[in-house]
Amino acid sequence: MTDARLLIEVRHVDKCFAGTGTQALKDVSLSIHAGEVICIVGPSGCGKSTLLRTLNVLEPVSAGEVWIEGVSVHARGARLDRLRTKVGMVFQQFNLFPHLDVLENLMLAPVKVLRQPVATVRARALALLEQVGLADKARSRPGQLSGGQQQRVAIARALCMQPDVMLFDEPTSALDPEMVGEVLDVMRDLALKGMTMCIVTHEMVFARAVGTRAVFMEAGSIVWQDAPERFFSNPENARLRAFLGQAG
């Protein structure tokens, strides 16, 4: 794994929220190499979503460094918009654009940001909808879809930018239980195809089956990381053991 390409790296990152003064991240370092599927688990409020959002600089850090594809985001003249096109993100609340139909949701950024030809983007978008099992919903509005379908569209929308790495922020937490499976299936598919992924999740079974590395966060720090097999069945850290005991 060490010789694989380094896609995102954060070094000694702190994050304080100005309004409340709470420190969400304390001296966090994490690197994501090509081909990895990193699952971040931890109690709510431990900073795992904040960490994920620093990875594409949706959340600027208070201290420390963030590197995307070898470029420091703090460098003067760093083009954050350009860097973000390499990093796809899927949100807990889907955040589809309600005024556009499904196909337009997928096509908007590749056409407007990457300035790719419409025909090329359309063909790719339709293929992606096929891949997530929603080819027949191309002309539907997000409001007409179930939560699970919306999240699959959101994944396809991020993929349509052809990113090098995909970030998932609790992608199944807002879903009814019967829809969790369809979204996890799409993500498993993606992992098998070799996509680099970083997933904040409460789905331990999924994390263990699909992940290549598991990361445990607590109180704004990374407490433990390990291969999923050992991480889940034989955790060598007392706090992780306590967390997994609670989480069942």
Binding site: L58, D81, R84, F91, N95, A109, K112, V113, R141, M161
Partner: protein, 309 residues
């Protein structure tokens, strides 16, 4: 049932107004009102220069021979009625005769001016309101301060006073025409309200929309242009339509300048006919027709957009 009750109330109010008006000494001349809208008297055909009239044998045209120093006689035709006699001497601009047909009456001309000034102001108010509204939600403190100041100043002073300032001060300094000054005053005034509507609409769009757009690599401008603003404008379209209707009504205030809009035309017709009751009712109805058409069009547009959702 409710509709019937409402109709009865309206009828009762109308009848009592009618009987009240019978008590005063006023002669209603409704039959005159159409003439203020459309003149059927025909268009005048003026003499192009000073000259002597000579009828043609067919009686349909005449030749005008210049009085002084000669020059070629000119044939004037196309009359429906000739109002000079054979051998008359006429001067440039005198009426030779009339061409039948309709021409716009003073109220129709005023209505057209109101429509023109409203439409022009609407376009500028929308652009300016959008800019100021975006300034209100900008990350830059300078933009936020300036936009807030603009809104406070404009909303805190009467439109009538603003019109005076635009007409007498700014209009003089920049040598604006009355029309330009009127459009400027109305646009600046309405833009302050549109800015607040736009700001509210933008703030009502969930943060997640901007974050999703930015995570796809869009710049702040692109996220606003393609994601936030379309949703904000859609959700605020009833409020914007209300503001446009206000704009049409507020345009009546420009009649204090040398601009003959619908209200000014009404005043001029009243002063020459002494039929204030009919004329003002007629003017009110014309405003109602304008605003009614606008709100009908907006409702149609909204229903069309809803069908796509």
């Amino acid at each position: 049932m409710g509709h019937l009750a409402a109709a009865i109330v309206v009828l009762a109010v109308g009848l009592s107004l009618y009987y009240a008006s019978r008590q005063i000494d006023y002669e209603w001349r409704w039959e005159r009102v159409p003439h203020y809208l459309v003149e059927t008297g025909g268009t005048e055909i003026p003499a192009p220069f000073d000259g002597t009239v000579k009828f043609a044998p067919d009686g349909q045209s005449l030749t005008l021979t210049p009085l002084l120093g000669g020059g070629e006689p000119v044939t004037v035709a196309g009359f429906d009625r000739i109002e000079v006699s054979d051998g008359d001497i006429v001067f440039a601009g005198n009426t030779l005769g009339r061409e039948h047909g309709w021409s716009a009456g003073p109220l129709a001309i005023g209505l057209w001016m109101t429509l023109k000034i409203s439409l022009a102001s609407l376009v500028f108010a929308l652009i300016l309101g959008l800019v100021v509204g975006l300034g209100r939600v900008s990350r830059r403190v300078v933009s936020r301060d300036l936009a807030a100041l603009y809104v406070e100043v404009i909303r805190g002073t009467p439109l009538l006073v603003q019109i005076f300032i635009f007409y007498f001060f700014i209009g003089t300094v920049l040598s604006l025409s009355a029309f330009a000054a009127g459009v400027a005053a109305l646009s600046v005034f309405t833009a302050a309200y549109i800015a607040e509507i736009v700001r509210g609409g933008i703030e009502a769009v969930p943060r997640g929309q901007t974050e999703a757009a930015r995570s796809l690599g869009m710049s702040a401008f692109q996220a606003m242009r393609h994601v936030v603003l379309p949703q904000a404008l859609r959700s605020t379209s009833p409020a914007l339509a209300g503001q446009f209707i206000n704009l049409i009504k507020d345009s009546s205030l420009v009649s204090i300048m040398a601009l003959t809009d619908l209200t000014k035309a009404g005043r001029e017709v009243v002063s020459s006919t002494f039929s204030p009751f009919e004329v003002w009712f007629c003017v009110a109805l014309l405003y109602l027709a304008l605003t009614g058409t606008l709100s009908f069009a907006v409702r149609r547009l909204e229903r069309r957009l809803d069908r796509h959702d």
